[in-house]
Amino acid sequence: MTAPWPSIDALAASVRSGERSAAETVRTALKRISAHEDLGAFLHVDEARALDDAQAVDRRVGAGDDLPLAGVPVALKDNLCARGSPTTCGSRILEHFAPPYDATAVARLQQAGAVVVGKTNLDEFAMGSSNENSAFGPVKNPWDTTRAPGGSSGGSAAAVAAGIVPVALGSDTGGSIRQPAAFCGTVGLKPTYGRVSRYGLVAFGSSLDQIGPLTNRVSDAALVLAIMAGGDPRDATCSNDPVPDVVSGLDGGVEGLRVGLPKEYLGDGIEPCVRQAVATAAQRLAADGAEVREVSLPHTPYAIPAYYVVATCEASSNLARFDGIHYGRRAEAPNLSSTYERSRTEGLGAEVRRRILLGTFALSAGHYDAYYDRAMRVRTLIRRDFEQAFDSVDLLLSPAGPTPAFRLGEKTQDPLEMYLADILTVAANLAGVPGLVVPECVGEFEGAALPIGVQLMGPMWSEPTLLRVGHHLERTRGEMPAAPTGGTA
């Protein structure tokens, strides 16, 4: 069993005080990466560079720099650019791509003293809900290695759950941070659209994508968000408004808080153990002074169809850049047109090609109004659902997915069935609102002991409230057992 990481705050403080060095902290993470190779959580690790970076942090600490993340090892989902490191997006087409620049979120963490130790596995171009669409093999869930870690940030969730790193970054287009966090028993935060710069995140659905942290505890997610968040001239959709303090109010409790339980999120098809976890969390909030009531998000049944139109349309446009000319893999072909076609056909996996075709179809002449335009109107209705709910409650408490972690291979034969697993997470992306998943308990599902998370969603820019309530749920929950870390494989 791997000893759990202390809080990021305590870890950085111990590096700042000289109790331990960044170099030995990073060595610990690197050893754990090797020890857990069987999980398939990492795609690239550059030990020499990580140790160099750690020694640079030690020198900065020695020079008196006050680094809030001094020596904190961080793993990056492999669709986030770090200068000179491979960034494959889990795709053959980018197998040898190394970006010449850093993502803004990554640069800010490094500036604060964090050290990148590796890039984590993901569904190809972040398209998937089980991590089985990676061209480099699936990730195994550290709780049960026959089960999916969730997706698409499956490697990041497994890396945190297995105790390899104290924090990993993911991206969330339709639940890709929150669902794997729930499957692996970690905290996962999708910030408000526009809270964190997307510069350096390889684009999937540009009006939906957000970068966020996966961590062991809510306070860690708050600290990492505080450092990543805020305006960036390189992302025009990133808000220039001042970022509120998300760290110091965490202990504020829930007295007087109005919590809504969206009835459409607790209907048929939700596993009893998941429903029970939400009920238990709601009872604790009520006992501690919150007012809990049922609310309605009436357009919930339309969220999946609207999402799979908007996301695939945007993907078909964004992924047009992978042409075998500017970067990535080029197939040998006699002329330019066939070079494009062969490079893309050989380089992109089945699910990515399926989504590009769906999006291209929905945007093509004669279909635009029926699909894309209609989906963007339905998106307005979904956003209004949230606005109306937030007239009467401060936040929403719900499951993050209908079931705990499903089995590897269980849904790979039927793309539509895989899409339907995203039903409780996609609406937040369509509306732009933030969502936080917090582990609630370990429950029994299909004979396995698996973590169950609950999801909090709030109005735009409500991260301080979400994190405060998440922290309260975590504090009043009792200790969560650690994942058995896949030792049985």
Binding site: A98, P99, P100, Y101, T192, Y193, G194, S207, L208, P233, A236, T237, S239, H299, Y302, P305, A306, Y308, V309, A320, D323, G324, I325, H326, Y327, G328, R329, R330, A333, P334, N335, L336, T339, E341, R342, R344, T345, R353, R354, I356, L357, T360, F361, S364, Y371, D373, R374, A375, M376, R377, V378, R379, T380, L381, R383, P415, L416, Y419, L430, G432
Partner: protein, 96 residues
């Protein structure tokens, strides 16, 4: 529903190659997904505006000032084939 011929046409637009078997299989898969998407037709959205910009913010402006950019060397660094500070591509002329 969607016909295999339509799938082939869309694949050409998307610069993807498909075999006959693949276009038939994809026609079935995409047809199933689209019939789920067709639920959107249950809603009357004639008076509902599309959500634009995506999350309701306003346009962001910056000064029209020059700043540092990627060097030519960095921008070409990942290209499969280059020549004299340019991307080199296969023959285009017989491509019409």
């Amino acid at each position: 529903m969607i016909e295999p011929e339509t799938v082939l046409k869309v694949a050409r637009l998307a610069r993807l190659e498909l075999s006959g078997d693949e276009s038939a299989r994809l026609a079935v898969e995409l047809g199933r997904i689209l019939s789920h998407v067709d639920r959107l037709e249950e809603l009357d959205v004639a008076d509902v505006p599309p959500l634009m910009p995506a999350t309701g913010g306003s346009d962001v402006y910056r000064d029209d000032a020059t700043g540092p950019t990627l060097s030519v060397q960095d921008a070409l660094g990942n290209a499969p084939d280059t020549s004299d500070d340019c991307f080199r591509v296969p023959k285009v002329i017989d491509d019409a």
